[in-house]
Symmetry: C2
């Protein structure tokens, strides 16, 4: 103890460090820095620095067309891996494409079209090596649900198709703009908790929709929420077809079993990857053999052979549906972007390479713009197919090209085979695919870590299943943002105490050994100070002082100095500055000293500019550390820390 005291005394005798202003920077420079941090946090131009013009051009071309980067180094052994993985994902993409198109209330063939063009575009523009591109369940569900609220897909199928393509166009435009304007952080507002709740809700909604196919119901409700769907299911009990139910049950069990095997043993990925196509094949053969369509088993029906017809003449850029398609485009655009980027990042982290979020957004956006004029609807990187792609050993985006070629062959020559595919098997494929979206362990983990995040999750979940897909999402995002705002409106203020024998000051509630310093009230404000919390902080700090004075009434000496540690105050605005002035005035009236500790650069600068009388900037009221503030200010009444040690 003796030793410490010596150290402290030497400190207080010579080691008071001046708080200085940060080096002067012009407003323009600050604005430049701020803009850079906002829009270019990854510094994409870094690699161009100090290169020759020619090299810069090559790098630039490679930046916009990642294919130029990996193509020259492409080797045959890579091609072998890519062929295998490409064929594997194609076997998954064909039945899933047909199924998801039905989920979006679109003709099944649109799902195949969407598995042909977009993967080719992505292969040229995309920078992920594992992403398997095509239609996905969530975006299909949301597109179908938002459009069918306004236009009936059965009564007016052509208009519905036009609106789907137009929405795809706006989704692509929105995605590419986000990337181009480097506003990618907008998708960050979908927190993990929101997504887990949302996806679980969507999975349930999607599965319930499949009851139509699985039970063989003909007159099914158009609504999505859980209550009308279940009531529709039980009101049409006379339509249920036992043949369909039997077939559906068998294939569902088969698919779930193979899925389980694929999940337990990643090496057996081909079991789960091949199962959907196998189910389609077997079920089609069964239908042909027993003439199932005559026994109440509904089939897909005739599909047109041939590649994607152009569809740019079907896009709506005006008229009464413009608002609807823009809104649908933005919602599906954000959702598909979130999935695509998350999938890309996940596998990039596994293989230790970088995926540039903004570049990916441009790639996915352009892919959807091109898709919208070639009869494709919203596509992105699918999580389940990308996982298969990765497990099958894909090396580059060539696996997407292989998949696209396989789909092309199917479109050109194999379409008649799908005519007798029963709808019930498509339902089973969708249920198997979306069941993986319900992530109970992750939800439990969130419950364990953060109860409020779990509340957000629940809101998204129940919002989706009881209200509507888009409202559930909106509610969850709203609550997430509200939470962040509340943290700012009601920032934490804590009382600091000295950890005996050191110069360290910590929250006395957290570190029980930390002791208050007689005569000092040391507070720390743990948030930016701004208009939204300055009133609260005034009230809260005066309550701290009142509390201290009431308790301290028994103790001697009474409160003499209020120290405000500003280290955690990361920003301040003009209202925040007035807090200090008001506090300083109020404390002066009470005869208390008011001292600020360690304002960071920005706070320091603003204080200086606001404080014309220099009352808050005198060296004796501004310290670099709490330790130095306490040491300096106790020197007049002798050094008091040891009394409490």
């Amino acid at each position: 103890m003796e030793e410490n005291r010596v150290i402290d005394i030497t400190r207080s005798s010579f080691e008071v460090h001046k708080v200085v202003s940060p080096p002067h920077r012009s407003t323009l420079l600050k604005l430049k820095n701020r803009l850079k941090e906002t829009f270019f946090p990854d510094d994409p131009l870094r690699q161009f620095k100090g290169q020759t013009i020619k090299k810069k051009l090559i790098l630039g071309a490679q930046y916009f067309f990642p294919i130029l980067e990996w193509c020259p180094n492409y080797r045959f052994h890579m091609f072998k891996s890519d062929i295998i993985s490409g064929l594997t994902i194609a076997s998954l993409a064909i039945p899933q494409g047909i199924s998801y198109a039905k989920l979006a209330n679109l003709p099944p063939i649109i799902g195949l079209y969407s598995s042909f063009v977009p993967p080719l575009v992505y292969a040229v523009l995309g920078s992920s090596r594992d992403l398997a591109v095509g239609p996905v369940s969530i975006a299909s569900l949301v597109l179908g649900s938002m459009l069918s609220e306004v236009v009936s897909p059965t009564k007016d199928p052509l208009l519905f198709l036009q609106l789907a393509f137009s929405s795809t166009f706006f989704a692509g435009l929105f995605q590419a703009s986000l990337g181009f304007l480097r506003l990618g952080f907008i998708i960050d507002f979908l927190s993990k908790a929101t997504l887990i709740g949302f996806m679980a809700g969507a999975a349930i909604i999607v599965s319930l929709q499949q009851l139509k196919g699985l039970l063989g119901i003909i007159n099914f409700t158009k609504q999505m929420a859980i209550i009308p769907v279940l009531s529709s299911v039980f009101h049409t009990i006379n339509e249920w077809s036992w043949q369909t139910i039997l077939m559906g049950f068998c294939f569902l069990v088969f698919l779930l079993l193979t899925r389980h095997i694929g999940m337990r043993k990643p090496k057996l990925f081909w079991v789960s990857a091949g199962a959907p196509l196998l189910s389609v094949t077997i079920s089609t053969l069964i239908v042909i053999a027993i003439k199932g369509q005559n026994h109440g088993i509904s089939i897909i029906g005739k599909l047109q052979e041939g590649l994607n017809p152009p569809s740019w003449n079907m896009l709506h850029f005006s008229g009464s549906y413009l608002g609807l398609v823009i809104k649908t485009g933005i919602v599906t655009g954000i959702l598909s972007l979130t999935e695509g980027i998350a999938v890309g990042r996940t596998f990039a982290a596994l293989k230790n390479y970088q995926v540039d979020g903004n570049k990916e957004m441009i790639a996915i956006g352009l892919m959807n713009i091109v898709g919208s004029s070639t009869s494709c609807y919203v596509t992105t990187g699918s999580f389940s197919r990308s996982a298969v792609n990765h497990n099958a050993g894909s090396k580059t985006a060539v696996s997407n090209i292989v998949m696209a070629v396989t789909v092309m062959v199917t479109l050109l020559f194999l379409m008649p085979l799908f005519q007798y595919t029963p709808n019930v098997v498509l339902g089973a494929i969708i249920v198997t695919a979306v069941i993986g979206l319900i992530d109970i362990p992750a939800a439990f983990q969130i419950w364990k870590i953060d109860k409020f995040d779990f509340l957000v999750l629940l809101c998204a979940f129940f919002g989706v299943i009881f209200v509507s897909v888009q409202d559930g999402l909106a509610i969850a995002i709203g609550i997430s943002i509200l939470k962040v705002l509340m943290q700012i409106t009601r920032p934490k203020t804590v009382m600091l105490g000295n950890i005996p024998g050191t110069g360290i000051y910590r929250d006395v509630d957290h570190y029980k050994e930390a002791l208050g310093v007689a005569g000092f009230l040391i507070l720390s404000v743990e948030a930016p100070i701004n208009f939204a919390n300055v009133t609260y902080l005034k009230e809260r700090i005066s309550r701290w002082i009142q509390d201290y004075e009431e308790e301290g009434a028994k103790k001697q000496p009474g409160l003499r100095v209020v120290v405000l540690d500003l280290s955690p105050v990361s920003a301040i605005d003009t209202s925040g500055i007035s807090l200090f002035k008001d506090l300083s005035m109020a404390l002066e009236k009470k005869g208390l000293e008011f001292v600020l500790v360690n304002p960071i650069g920005e706070v320091m600068e603003k204080l200086q500019r606001a404080d014309e009388t220099k009352d808050l900037m005198r060296p004796d009221v501004l310290f670099l550390t709490v330790e130095e503030a306490v040491a300096s200010l106790s020197s007049t009444v002798k050094y008091q820390i040891p009394e409490h040690v």
Copy 2:
């Protein structure tokens, strides 16, 4: 220097302090604390603690009816002061009441009604001693402008009046609810910058509206924005009446001059306070003398004698205008609350007493609810009249009672006198009153301190004058909140360095003397870590590491340890926790050590719950201070700070 080195070595040899978890608290207790901080930051029940039941009842009654608190101590000398100040503000309130009612497109007498009942209610419920209650310019403008967008006050005056009373009711209901539910922080979202810009814009809009009266125009536009108003002024140039202009000009000069005197010498407050009533009297006499109404000078016309008629049967609680009156009520409610609370707080701070925001909201709200059923429109504490009240020496709310009684006498006996009052003088009174809302020095101060706040100010200002009053306000609030969200989405990360000869680590950009420690990259994240910024932080931190490695390529030894100082991280969510896991994994792959410093209680707890493998919670990767982390981790390669000193 030698001495320091000795201190540091002794420190590293024995002084590594453990980071401990905060004491355990149940979720329920945490929720309780959180709710208390959110809704009761001022701890209003503090005074009830440890009192007898009887005392508690008395305190409770005094809490809800502040009049019970000051009435028993009321003395005659106070009454003398209150009489003087009450008469003074009445002389201001009568002409202003008539003028503001016209500004709200209401019959002038409504302004007098509104200066009679609400002050009486406030005197019982309000806790400010200086607030002078009545109609105010901003709320009048907004009420008039929002309602007249839908209903014409000239074509359908009765409906307009009903909607005004209904809006007042909802304004009061909203205000009282905010106070009762302790949601008063909602008005904090109107930042100082927003208010200054908004009020300046509103002052210009109000002044432009007065051109109708000041120029004697008869057919004036119904619109508010600057362009239609100015074009209307010049299109009706043939309607301008020189007699009106002359009279208006003279009184405007007189009023501005007295205002100037009142501002320069607060003791001469009665000059500016009496001027409006004097102007009304003189101008009325002139009109009577010269029969001005026959010379193109428009006059108020006959006003009905008698006190406020009841108006509860005029309130709309259903029908097609319900949405409009609720919206108008909320907007005018927030605006008038903001003014009233701000005025109350300002004078309370001057006289060093407390005003409880939530209690004031209930008082103002009830006053408006009562007002709405006694023919009053939205009222609050007026800044200009409260200043006069204060300067005239008011002691208690009795001055409001005196004012109300004076208005009552006017309503009962003096109404015929106002019949010949020219409208032009009312215009001059309004212009003089609102000109004080343009606060150029404050705007300049904001420009000096914070450019972004100034931008918010400009948006509010130009939004109000070019778009509309309510849109300008909405835009400014939107931008303020966006700024706060942007600060969270793009938090600052800074590199810390050691201040030679100490254990203090500070931002190297700010403190030029701070030196990096070889082999260490010490970063500090200055914001809560959550879903909105975790992606950014990942990118930004990896850029810091890249930068360090590129620069450090020349230096020896290379990067070995990444230290993350979490002191300023005031909160974290589940997405934030994943940042540490991802970083820890990525850095391990690079062969770097990853160390956390001083996580606060909440962060610590969540880390613990999330980190099942305990990788981030081992004592050798978790330190209480940066100094200790550096000392511990450099011990293996000898202590390196001195090399850089």
